[in-house]
Symmetry: C5
Subunit: 303 residues, 5 copies
């Protein structure tokens, strides 16, 4: 996530920070060069005058608006749904911690349980980003409990089963009324829904064919556009074509980042920051005072 | 589902993979041929000069944008709701398994129950795709339990009743506190909602009249367009008309795949992959180690 | 609901099936005749040259796009919400049946209870369509239980109260644990929400003023359009004006059907089919084998 | 709410019923007069030829479409959410009545409780419309119970507390199992959510700045438009300008009604009708037969 | 929140109240000055005739409509979701208070518990607005209970834990049936969800890159626009350019306020007013009569 700098409106026009320009610079320069060539040749291709006007571009604009508008909405919705799921992870973690601390008789073993919740949050992040959870799990759960998990294919799911087993034992010891056990079971199901929701977004992209159609339409549009403009705006053609191409390609590049919100690109969700935040708040609820510091943005980017 | 290949932006313009071009190639060629004929005749039809300009097409564009934009949103929403339902199937299956393993006393018969959940997931897939569930049910449930099911009209619904009966027996044996039985009953109702939701999407398409109206408008638009363009862009008419037709027909073809998301076309949901994934995670929760491999994409397509 | 025929793209352009053309044929012909008259008079009205161009129509297009796009979305959302409510009716009916069969001790009287649920589904349909439920209720519930219902103003609501009373008696007999009675009470509340949701859609149309505004704008637009086109496209004016009018009026006619989704027009919900489907699946869960056949489409239309 | 008359398409063009024309008649006439003046002067203002064309208006159209489209969607969503809340009020009232009648032992005091629910529905309506609830509360609850309420600032909230206290007493008397008391407590929380939701919509309008921006843009657009059209369409300018202004101002006037859905304007929700409907259905559930008649529309308007 | 004044349509065109004009006055004047300069020079820049027409601007309009339309919807949705969360805070607070007063035996200590809920509402506001909660907490909770909270990092979360502990004690004293304790635990989880939802909106802005792209496109568009218009509308150019710029910049400025809804700008949520409203209604439920007055708008603005 890019931390919003409070910039004067004028400086915001110039800085590169938070911009996707570097990603699309090559394509923009290529399009600008083509437009410049066509302008210099007066709209001729190999000596043949290409008689395009702006009319086709305003007709193609209908389809383009549908494609880009849809893809932008769908990407952002994926991003925001992912953020809601991580928020729900925080909520359910806090609720489960509160429930253990207040409904279980003599919750002397609360630390074991709550560290299991923290481990779930981190394991989920590792699964979504394809990193190795073992070192962190070892710190949180100890070597014994970690051993069983690291051989599991679906580590976060096994951690939830592990938490369920701990609750089952507490219930069997008569330290938790079944009614309140049922409430905690509900919260475990909420965590299961968070896990499944994140897996859904990570495993099912926006249908790839959308990208193919958008991609083709945008580039063909930009490559043909100079022929359509040179007759009426002459030397301004390269500037305007590059401007138009910038609006389409910048949106496309941003959407690419947003539609896979669990990645590590600048506009992706700051999972490191968010899961550490969960760890901090749960450990504070346990009464710990030696809490880690939240991660800080580097170059305005939180990861 | 088409697995997203990480392609260089330039190669993505050319490959056929993930494209709907083969589906609409004939129509595009027909439109291109008609446009070429009209261009060669200078916009005359049977010797009569058809005096169209671009104006009507920009007016019809209003309706076209509404039709295509709506249909695209509605198709994608059906696709994504279907995906959420399958995700909810995963969530409820995991929760129900965890509940059986942690709340039932001495869950030695857990395998029977959990294999019933797995059988439900597969039976749902078979119902949605119209395939025969009997062989797979026989493997999962044994011949005895399968016999009663295969004569049922609504097999997944009968499987849920079967799971409910198992819970009822466990409760009658005093091995499950009624409070936690109620929680598991809730999870069974969640599975019932998944079943009903999938049946709803499968049985109720987007009203057919939308397809008829879109279809007629798009084709009439594309067949008339050359007359409207030939006067201003001359020889470029066939290229531009084909380009415009491509944007409309490609979107139409993609939407046709998405609006019936349980089919087996490339952009449909990978039900084989997803239900096998449910089987794997539930069997891992049971402690089994001899787990099947997830299905892999063939030619970049997961079914 | 119109059952989707799998037609070749070309045949779909021609058939009348699923089309709203018959509904709007008169208006289209009137508009075509007016356009033809204006074309023949060269855009003159009573000898006065009406100097319109296409410009006003592209400005009015802004408002028209908002009106039609909004009305289309709102109509379809009503249709789809209604479909979801009927789906929820299926889900809650199946869950309630499963709950009675598995949680009530010795459910020998299950048939009475489940037939009450079936009667609720049919009574809801009769209320929504304004038909007389008495004959069907008599078959399902017997003369005795029907007598009390037929004098009620809100028959489905009284049926739910009746089901609640049966549960209350079963509970008072000690045949149902209060915890599981609470779950079944939840399912009854779900059915109450279905009833209220259907009544809301049936009783509260899209604000009528939208129809008035859309109606006036569309017709005035279509009647004025020939004056705006005849100067530039001449003899093609009647064809194009009729085409434009078709796109607007066809969408309008379809939306009229969708916004009252419980009616019996071709694009309305197939309530007969859906409630009979609920009856079949519940009776199968009861173990009955003498099940009715699902209703089949007549002329591709399910009612 | 305006009751939809089934009008022939042609008559619908002419009648004033359901129209917002009277509200915007003055503004439309003013705009028409200005447009006529500008047309007569040939587009000159104080002797200076104002050289506008249609181009600026099609550019401003972008912003206008966003403003009007957004405001329309937001207004309708407020209207529809308000309608859903009133529907939820009906659902929760019916459920709570059913629960009292079926789960409480010897519910001889059911009338007191159910009349408390009816009083809540009416008190909510009075709060939303700023009318005095005292006379109606006195009829429903008697002088004693009303006294405590009428001095309360938040009457409906105090009524819900009162219902909760009645349940608490029934529970303390051992006439209601705690499990089923919990279910009824859930339904009371649903009613609390209805109350809060209605208060939210009533107290938080669409941000006022939207109205200011839309207002300014629409009027400036309409006042300038004659200068942009008179050059190309001459004498038709006043007609077209008035038509364009009608589409914008009519939508604006309708949105003003919808965005405050609890008012008493023709397109607002028929709260009188809906709350009386709740009273009727609850009293029928109590077994009363002397039920009031539902309110009927006056001049096609239900209040 | 700006309180809606009931203004005559004409006065609304003129007043500054509720307008964002002051915020964008400098930019508008700059754009007007540039447009005036370009108009006076006849569209020449440093003696070179810049040959732009309106065509590029209508093409860029496609992207601009997507950007502005999307950002506007996303900002408003954040605003409205934030409002719903504060409404849910009211609902859950009322429900929790009702539950304590009606289900706990001899609720003589209700004041302590309910003041804890009030403290939570205020602490949440202070966290969202970055102000110091200590003075207010001290008044509500007393010095003792405040001490533990003020050293906490996540004060509202610790307050919810504190409320949970109070419930746990009441339960351990046998004054609250576990079933109803479970219901109250549910309401505490609802408050946890409100807290997490508000934190999500406050900590995760709309991806910053959107602002950058919108910003650049809008300003470049406005700076180039005079060149595109001066050829056709001459001296009207500065007026029209400023008008177009106003529509874009005003929307942009409003969206900036709405997308951070917890701030203290005029269009932000009136958190002071809303949390005081929660305090008033809860204290009235406790039976207190010495209630504070609701905050009143200052210069039509509620904070």
């Amino acid at each position: 996530m890019i931390v919003r700098p409070r910039l004067h409106w004028f400086r915001m026009l110039l800085v590169l920070h938070g911009s996707v320009l570097p990603k699309i610079a090559f394509q923009l320069m290529l399009i600008a060069a083509i437009a410049a060539g066509i302008t210099l040749s007066g709209g001729e291709l190999l000596g043949w005058k290409v008689g395009l006007t702006f009319v086709p571009f305003s007709l193609i604009g209908i389809a383009l608006a549908i494609f880009l508008g849809f893809r932008n909405s769908a990407s952002y919705e994926r991003y925001w749904e992912a953020r809601k799921l991580v928020g729900e992870l925080l909520n359910a973690s806090r609720s489960l911690t509160r429930q253990y601390l207040t409904w279980v008789d003599h919750p002397v073993d609360a630390r074991d349980f709550v560290y299991g919740i923290i481990a779930f949050a981190h394991a989920l992040r590792h699964q979504l980003r394809g990193s190795d959870p073992e070192p962190q799990l070892r710190v949180l759960l100890g070597a014994e409990r970690t051993k069983r998990l690291v051989t599991a294919r679906a580590k976060p799911a096994m951690l939830l089963l592990h938490l369920g087993e701990m609750l089952g034992q507490v219930g069997a010891q008569g330290r938790l009324h079944p009614q309140l056990a049922a409430r905690m079971d509900q919260t475990l199901s909420d965590l299961t829904a968070v896990l499944g929701g994140c897996e859904r977004i990570a495993n099912t992209p926006i249908p790839y064919t959308y990208s193919v159609i958008v991609h083709r339409t945008v580039y063909l549009y930009c490559f043909l556009l100079p022929f359509g403009l040179v007759g009426s705006i002459g030397l301004m053609t390269p500037l305007i074509v590059t401007f138009v191409a910038y609006t389409f390609l910048a949106l496309d590049a941003l959407n690419e980042e947003l539609e896979e919100p669990f990645g590590t690109l600048p506009n992706d969700l700051p999972l490191d920051h968010l899961t550490l935040g969960i760890e901090i708040t749960l450990r504070e609820m346990l009464g710990e005072t030696d809490l880690p510091q939240p991660t800080a943005p580097r170059h305005y980017v939180l990861t």
